[in-house]
Symmetry: C2
Subunit: 295 residues, 2 copies
């Protein structure tokens, strides 16, 4: 198993043309492969507009089964290019039962595993609880030829519990496809705070667990079709950080970008020798983490 991997993210804007969006992702996969990448991460719900800005039953038409047409197309590209891809999809599991799911493809095009988003947000402009049933597969890494991938999705990135459970299960990398942006009405200071907090939160998961993190977010402005809000300006800023949270690659906030960087997975072993956080966890005193609140 190679310990040096070449990881990439494919950050792009989306439009109403769903085949064009899928093509942008596929084009990015080709670019990344040409850059030498063997692990390529797509952004959350990469093949469509972020439809959760409103609650509209019509969007359930966008969901598809896994495996399904999109996984077949992506699997074929993985096979052709000999790459591992993490792709986020709107999964239709049954009538009235949908998930926000990340699929991991092996280099032979097979599905290596999937993760169903466990933490589901619901805020003005992000009405995800309407669309996505919370995941029921737990926090389990996916084994691939490149290593054990701790795939999580977007809102999960705010939860240290999710990252920790992945690390305790032997995840060698944390991976977050995501779709997050600004309310255009917010003041610049608030925007800076939000984007910075999003980056820090994920870098901190790398640090607390001594493993690298890859986060891929979309860019571009998407109007609110309901007209109730000012829409969302997605802030891009996809990045890759090492096991001390150190930034290895980062995209701008406002441009499509496919970027590839080397990650030395053996470094995690060294970092955990100087910062042996797993050794000293007070598991005898953590029980109340299972409570909603201590009251």
């Amino acid at each position: 198993m190679p310990r040096e991997i070449k990881a990439a993210f494919v950050q792009h804007a989306c439009s109403e043309d769903r085949s064009e969006n899928l093509n942008a992702s596929i084009e990015g996969i080709h670019q990344a492969a040409a850059q030498g990448a063997n692990l390529i991460v797509l952004q959350e719900l990469h093949n469509g507009l972020y439809f959760c800005q409103q609650e509209n039953t019509g969007y359930f038409d966008w969901a598809e089964s896994i495996p399904g047409p999109t996984t077949t197309a992506l699997g074929e590209i993985c096979r052709q290019l000999n790459v591992v891809v993490v792709a986020s999809l709107f999964e239709k599991r049954a009538a009235g039962l949908y998930h926000n799911t990340a699929v991991v493809f092996e280099t032979n095009g097979e599905i290596a595993g999937r993760y169903r988003k466990m933490h589901i947000p619901d805020d003005p402009g992000f009405y995800e609880k309407f669309y996505f049933t919370p995941g029921d597969l737990g926090f389990n890494p996916v084994n691939t030829s490149l290593g054990r991938l701790g795939v999580l999705v977007c809102w999960d990135q705010w939860y240290p519990e999710a990252a920790r459970l992945m690390a305790l299960s032997g995840a060698e990398l944390l991976i977050y496809p995501t779709a997050i942006g600004w309310d255009p009405n917010d003041h610049e200071t608030e925007r800076d705070n939000q984007r910075e907090a999003w980056i820090i939160s994920q870098r901190a998961h790398a640090i607390a667990n001594g493993i690298p993190v890859i986060s891929c977010n979309r860019v571009g402005f998407e109007a609110d079709p309901s007209g109730h809000s000012q829409g969302i300006q997605f802030w891009g800023s996809s990045f890759i950080a090492g096991p001390q949270g150190e930034i290895l690659a980062q995209a701008p906030a406002d441009q499509d970008m496919t970027q590839t960087t080397s990650i030395d997975l053996d470094r995690s072993d060294q970092v955990r020798r100087i910062w042996p956080f797993l050794r000293d966890r007070r598991i005898d005193a953590y029980h109340d983490i299972l409570l909603r609140y201590r009251d």
Copy 2:
């Protein structure tokens, strides 16, 4: 109960003269109070050199009971200045039973509560497992006239579990007295990574829990009395961040500094409305956090 507090940290170097160190802390408390501070945080083991660079039974002489001479002196200053102080002390609980303990003083000089460091490090130059029995008081905030203080100590700062448990117990602030620094042999890149990781980790606790954080670290070079290592260059950089992890105040890496800033505790309520992380925790799926490792 006031919702706007004025928080300060007192960052200073230590020498072999223990009364001089205590005086530096007391001088800082006076400075902070003159700046308008009503909550003042001292650095970890503020009244002495960081003795854990070697394992030497003689240092147990430095420990004292709580209450004891130092808490009496500090309590009297709190009463005089009408301030709440968080002070980290080497606690002698019984012969052969010592803790690394943070004491919280109320404005009337009484001890409001204490926290015994739960996560104890042990690394070259930081032989704390020799000196400190792991805390047995759990992760419980201390009630004061200024609010409910989530006091933790140093190595705890790397553990999201500790911060989370404090937040779940209603902590309105996280507070970390700390003593951390560089191995002078380390390359500058490694040093930058370490200091940055330390800042990010604590800012991330603020973010994940939607509450401010105050961290107070010492400065100065302290030689290793055993001569086995190159000593420690403590990196200061004490800081105060708001509930989105935004930096409100920060000290340099190499100078004594007492700094005071306003914290609006009501902002946490607003931040948790836009980022309601506590609402969506998957407590049904966190059970394995209580395991050492999932194998």
